[in-house]
């Protein structure tokens, strides 16, 4: 993600975008974990990007998010909230929403 200004360019790394996305998802209600195939660092602030896959495509960012949701919540509503919140945060923080944003519910946790 690169923006040009008169003073020079501003680059936002894929890593940073993944962190924004992971953060937004982790704060969304109903999301008890970010899933995915990484090691368990994916679950914690400095490793939160693990449940997030960011790909730069010609038409913009394509993001895949894997989440685990608390049992007993309406999954469709939780996923919808995650989507809108992630898009909102991307728009707010880097100025562009994702061109594609897939939310996978990888699991349901019962506590």
């Amino acid at each position: 993600m690169i923006a040009s200004t008169e003073l020079g360019t501003i680059a936002v790394s894929t890593e940073a975008i993944a962190q924004i996305v992971g953060q937004a998802a982790a704060e969304s209600y109903g999301v008890v974990a970010l899933a995915g195939r990484g090691r368990f660092s994916r679950l914690f602030p400095w490793g939160i990007k693990k449940g997030v896959d960011v790909e730069r495509r010609e038409d913009g960012l394509a993001i895949e998010l894997r989440i685990v949701v608390e049992h007993g919540l309406k999954l469709a509503e939780v996923a919808a909230t995650v989507r809108s919140r992630v898009q909102y945060e991307l728009e707010r923080m880097i100025g562009v929403p994702a061109a594609a944003l897939e939310v996978h519910i990888d699991g349901v946790r019962s506590s």
Partner: protein, 530 residues
């Protein structure tokens, strides 16, 4: 809880919430400023009221079940989902008996707050969550414990209002927008409706609002008419106002949108034919959809009943883990373990405990992570006697178990998971620091009672009275070979790790290190590298 009383209370709550719906919609700036919190909460609460109208529940427990289910199925939007969870926690407690005394209410508020917090990984304060938590805390204050129920509820409500007023101090987006949290405001109005309903006082007056709900919301409104009718009229210089006034007399939830050449019509009516005839006088009618709403409602009820007993469709492989320490438990849970049994080195769980956990997992096949070499046999015993297909992935320590856990995907098949997790175990090296309980020689290392003892892959490598020496040697051994990742689990008696982490980063640039609080007894530090 008695059905009649609950009906009355939820109606009062809905009435008060509806009166504030528009105001709450206008507050909405978090998590996304889309102005629908009031509407979503209203629709969620309305589905509870509707379910209670048709409920035939006789016992307190059955009422609670109906309420919980209606809240789940009717949940709309983020605030609706949170509210459904609050309702669930609340009626879980009150449903147990018919008694609604102060002590039970106190526990119900606690249950509501706990349930709400359980469902989010990183709770954001300054939201509905804060409001319900503070209400629960107020209920638990010593001086409120003996209050009669109506006074108690009033006190809890006042604290809710107070917490709501402080939400802008907790959340910057609220302060910047100069508003309180919308979801929290909704929750307070719902609670106010309940409290006034319970005391029999009339609800406080609020200005009447007449604004119509949005098109999506309209679909969910109760209608006395039978058919939801949608169609498009195409023609020339169509008169929108005239069509509107004709259709208005035939039903409700009317919506006519479009322009002179095409109008889209949505109306709930008992006579779709008449509506269509009126439209054909103006132009060509197309895209007709007529749905029997009474039938839809019945179908929805059926779905509700079906979904109640069925297992979770997304869970292909369940996972039961044994581990010591609250931190480790949370780690395993947040990584998707379906059940965690407390246990480990000095407190091995019984096969019966493991079988009970296996039975409680809502999936036909289960993987067990024993996470201790002494528990592997017990786990295998449990696997033999359980009624489900069980695979034991023989993790010999908590830290090994966590590495295996990182490969677990609940939606994969049990075979796939078992293979992936075994691969995980094969590619790691583990270390642990403990305190020697007697003088002994182990693997060629002289150990004195009280020494710190370091083991790598369960072999003693170092013992000394000074912990840092032992830690250094263990870490060096664990990181032998080409390791790119090191995790440290801190237990009881763990030292500060700043120096250690800096030293590792110097010697092994490029390695990624993470530290988690495991809370296990007897092992100040556990290591795993991959």
């Amino acid at each position: 809880m008695e059905l009649e009383a609950v009906r009355h209370l939820t109606r009062c709550a809905l009435q008060n919430l509806e009166a504030h719906r528009r105001r709450i919609d206008d507050l909405n700036v978090y998590p996304v400023p889309d102005g629908d919190t009031g509407t979503n909460l209203t629709l969620t609460l309305r589905s509870i009221v509707e379910a209670l109208e048709t409920s035939t529940a006789e016992s307190s427990e059955a009422v609670a079940k109906d309420v919980t289910r209606a809240a789940l199925m009717g949940a709309r939007g983020n605030s609706g989902v949170i509210f459904s969870q609050i309702v669930r926690g609340f009626v879980d407690v009150l449903g147990q008996t018919n008694d609604v005394s102060t002590p039970r209410l106190r526990r119900a508020f606690r249950g509501a707050s706990d349930a709400a917090y359980r469902a989010v990984k990183r709770p954001v304060e300054g939201t509905m969550l804060t409001v319900i938590r503070e209400m629960a805390e107020e209920g638990e204050r010593k001086e409120n414990r003996r209050l009669p129920a109506p006074t108690f509820l009033g006190t809890v409500l006042a604290r809710g209002e107070d917490a709501l007023a402080r939400t802008p101090e907790m959340l910057d987006v609220l302060r910047n927008a100069g508003v309180v949290d919308a979801g929290g405001a909704g929750l307070v109005e719902i609670a106010r409706g309940l409290v006034y309903g319970a005391s029999g006082e009339p609800l406080p007056e609020v200005p009447v609002e007449s604004e119509a709900l949005s098109i999506d919301a309209i679909h969910l409104e109760l209608s006395e008419y039978r058919y939801c009718t949608v169609f498009v009229v195409e023609g020339e210089s169509l008169d929108q106002a005239a069509l509107e006034s004709t259709l208005e007399q035939m039903g409700d939830s009317l919506l006519v949108v479009g322009d002179e050449s095409a109008l889209k019509v949505h109306v709930h009516t008992d006579d779709p034919g008449a509506a269509l005839s009126a439209a054909t006088l103006l132009g060509v009618v197309d895209g007709v959809e007529i749905a029997n709403m009474h039938h839809q409602t019945a179908q929805r009820e059926d779905r509700l009943l079906e979904s109640a007993g069925a297992p979770l469709p997304t869970l292909e492989t369940g996972l039961v883990a044994v581990c010591p320490g609250r931190g480790n438990r949370r780690l395993f849970e947040s990584m998707g373990a379906t059940r965690v049994i407390e246990g480990g080195q000095s407190m091995n769980p019984s096969a019966a405990e493991i079988i009970a956990a296996i039975d409680a997992v809502p999936s036909p096949e289960v993987i067990v992570l024993p996470n201790n070499s002494n528990v592997i046999l017990t786990a295998e015993q449990a696997a033999l006697h359980a009624l489900k297909a069980v695979r034991v992935v023989p993790s010999r320590s908590v830290q090994a178990g966590l590495a295996a856990m990182g490969r677990y995907v609940s939606t994969n098949t049990p075979e796939q998971n078992e293979q992936d997790m075994l691969d995980g175990l094969a590619s790691i090296s583990t270390g642990e620091i403990t305190i020697a309980s007697r003088d002994v020689e182990l693997d060629g290392v002289q150990i004195r009672k009280g020494d710190f003892l370091g083991l790598v892959d369960e072999t003693a490598v170092s013992a000394a009275p000074d912990m840092s020496t032992v830690v250094e040697q263990v870490v060096a051994r664990v990181l032998e070979g080409e390791r790119e990742w090191l995790a440290i689990l801190t237990g009881e008696g763990a030292p500060s790790l700043d120096g250690l982490v800096a030293a590792i980063e110097r010697e092994h640039p490029g390695i990624s290190i993470e530290i988690h609080h495991g809370g296990q007894p007897h092992y100040p530090l556990l290591f795993v590298a991959e």
